[in-house]
Amino acid sequence: MNFLSIFVLIPLLMLLGLWVARNLNQVRGVMVAGSTALLALAVYLVFAFLEAREADKVSEMLFTASFNWFPALNIKYSVGVDGISVAMLLLSAIIVFTGTFASWQLKPLTKEYFLWFTLLSMGVFGFFISVDLFAMFMFYEIALIPMYLLIGIWGSGKKEYSAMKLTLMLMGGSAFLMCGIFGIYYGTGAATMNIVDIANHANGAVPFSNHSLENLWFVFTFTGFGVLGAMFPFHTWSPDGHASAPTAVSMLHAGVLMKLGGYGCFRIAMYLMPEAANELGWIFLCLTGISVVYGAFSACVQTDLKYINAYSSVSHCGLVLFAILMMNQVAATGAILQMLSHGLMTALFFALIGMIYGRTHTRDVRELSGLMKIMPFLAVCYVIAGLANLGLPGLSGFVAEMTIFVGSFSNVGNFYTMWTIIACTSIVITAVYILRLVGKILYGVCENEHHKLLTDATWDERFSVVCLILCVAGLGLTPWWMSDLIGTGTQPIIDVINSAKEFLYVPF
């Protein structure tokens, strides 16, 4: 058996383990063992991949394997990884690992909580290892549905509304996505669901027999994934969902699940329909440009800590889609780096917010002040997360945004330059809301008597926060090996997209 499938097998075993677990300690034991194994496997995969890539520079996917699932429809369970998916798998493993510790104290129904949590992570891992459209779509939906129960049962605030809104909007997106997948399957004439085979079967010629239908399927697919990637105007589920979700679910959702959207847009929509991507990319570029700026401005006026971070996620995830639509190598690598960086720092942010909320029982900025004296550890970590968010050199945010904007500026044409300048303003706006926030809640004098009695982080909280900070700093200080890894994955996709440049349409 191919060792990539172990990424799905481990969560499956964890589900079984949770099923038979009798008490809280056993549940925690299963979760720690499983998530550690996943992390170890992901780290091993990075090194194994680098080695294998040295040996084989030609094939796009490495460690491929395939099992004939539904021969009648030529649907296979195929796995394989390239540089992008390796990076994403590593990110997911880190978030699942730290998320487990962040929900250490969660009550009630701990066992059920971890059951759905593990199912969610199974979907995420399965999505990133699949190279077959059907299997990919299946794992995508597996990852979506546990969110309903996770938010609905363990959430806070108007959780029923948020959970339903999130689920229905994402499922609505996946309805269009499914239509797009059928369109690709029957439109290309390749009669296969394997992504690499579809991309290569026409040897660089236009694979779709009907170009206007290709445009339609591109719009469906990109929008379908774009909903999960929080693309304007389909981002509205994100603030409500994140605000109501419990800590670890926010972490996993903002950290990993939203990346499924960006990854899918790049790997499926743009890679398989390069002509349509060149022709219609500008429409989506405008939309994502709007989300970048709009998300940042919205974050400025929010008073709920989680809403601020959720809108900040809209802005940063918008930047991911923005960068891949620039359709050049540097920007695309920056996009994947941004996924990694945003995943790590937003998970850190949500973890910290959850910890603060667990103590103060409020997330309202107006009611919090002077936390630095009361819980110095959490406060310092919060500052670090904020600085990473606004792109301070040395932390991960800087590396990603720098790469994106350098790549974007190198695109020729007033249209691209204009949108790049607009998107760049988000850096300033981010600095505004982050610094204001930090100043308001961490510094000054604590006015609430009740808050003065609170304690600092416990060992499990410290552990998960420190892990995330190390990753953020590690990515910020040594970005080259990650960007090299990612570059090997983005190169072939960008080549395919550029080969269809004759379809390129730019408004001005």
């Binding site: 021969p71 939906e141 499922m171 059928f182």
Partner: protein, 510 residues
Amino acid sequence: MDYSQFLNMQAELSLLAVIVILFVADLFMCGDGKKGVYNTCLPVVLLTIHTVLNICPCCQGAGEAFGGMYVHTPMMSIVKSVLAVGTIVTFLMAHKWLSREENLIKQGEFYLITLFTLLGMYFMISSGHFLMFFIGLETASIPMAATVAFDKNRYESAEAGAKFILLALFSAGLLLYGISLIYGATGTLYFDEIGKTLTLSNPLALLGLVLFISGMGFKISLVPFHLWTADTYEGAPTVVTGFLSVISKGSAAFVLFTVLIKVFPELVGAWNQAFMWIIIFSITVANVFAVRQNNLKRFMAFSAISQAGYLVLGVMDGTAQGMTSLVFYLLVYMVANLGAFAVITTIEENSGKINISDYNGLYSTNPKLSFLMTLCLFSLAGIPPFAGFFSKFFIFMAAFKAGWHWLVLIALINTVISLYYYLLIVKAMYIKGPGFTEQKLVSISADNDRVMPEDGPIPTFRVDCYTRTALFICVAGVVLLGICGVAYNCIDSFSYGLDKVMEVCTGCCK
């Protein structure tokens, strides 16, 4: 006379044997005996033997009997086995209900009537002649009315029975009229011969087709022929509702498909047009109505109408892939829906509650039942990794391949609406209610459901072993049928050759 042709009818004959054995056993069981082996055990064992016998030789080729009145293909025996398994599950579900004081004495009637319905469906599926088809159809639907009115002391049950029989007869009348028009046009009632001679240029053909579709539309409860569904489903005993929503609907849908491709291949454009609108209205109207329901049986009625709409998507263009997906959809829908009905029945029998709002906080008192219900509902909504996702994916794929892109998109958007109302039940079970901190684990004694506080969740109870078995079968199906591709691949291997039939016919047309 060649007696070997009876071998082709092995499924019907063995079912008849089961019926006779049960009938004789019923005569010799006194009142006490009916609480013992005769209650559920004997019928289930006999029916299981029948099903196993039925599945095994399905690898044999096709055959016919009575000069083509009766035809047999491997695909048909698969569908028959699916229906038989569904009936077994229904019997298992019915145990507690039949063990009631007033039902003990007449449980034999329930088994016999249900099995006769099944026999009628067998004949209907295997018919090669309109007369056989009609006899089968009536054998399937008239006894059904008796089971719908089985709780004769309940006013709603009797009313439901009356509604059902009236509309069944009305639809049978339409169907007969359609058949007579077709006979007038072609001068024969054999499916094969009609298919060869009936063309679109014949004015009676189109009218016959329309009447045939409306007659079958009543059986499958497609919009706009669905008006009886909600009332009948609500009034009928819950077990019967389960049977009605799956077995009777499924058999009719399969027969619709086979008759359409055998009898009306030249009119493929016409029935595509008709079904496009029927499907759009069925899923949309039913979904919109289902959102507003509080009674769970009415809710399931509208859910069943919309599921029938998806099921009929396989009919579009009459492709082999459509046939495979339709049968697979039927199988998956059967396990998921019967699973949900098993939960509903056992909750109704133990607490008397049937409204969605009664399910508030069910997870805190009956976690396992709620969990199984959730799996079944997710499967109905088409959420992976449960089988419903696969069946929906394949049936949409088949319709998409036939070129009905917009229809598929509308159906897909409707799955989102259906997800909304299925999640309403999940929400009631998990999220609403008194919360998990103050669990009231009150065990229920024999007859005190009135003592319970009105607003508390349904108290904890033990599920009897027959219902457990039914649930086990259903949930195993829900979890495994999709993931293990065997079921689909196996069904697919029997639908070969269909495309050729359609090609030849449309070729003639051109």
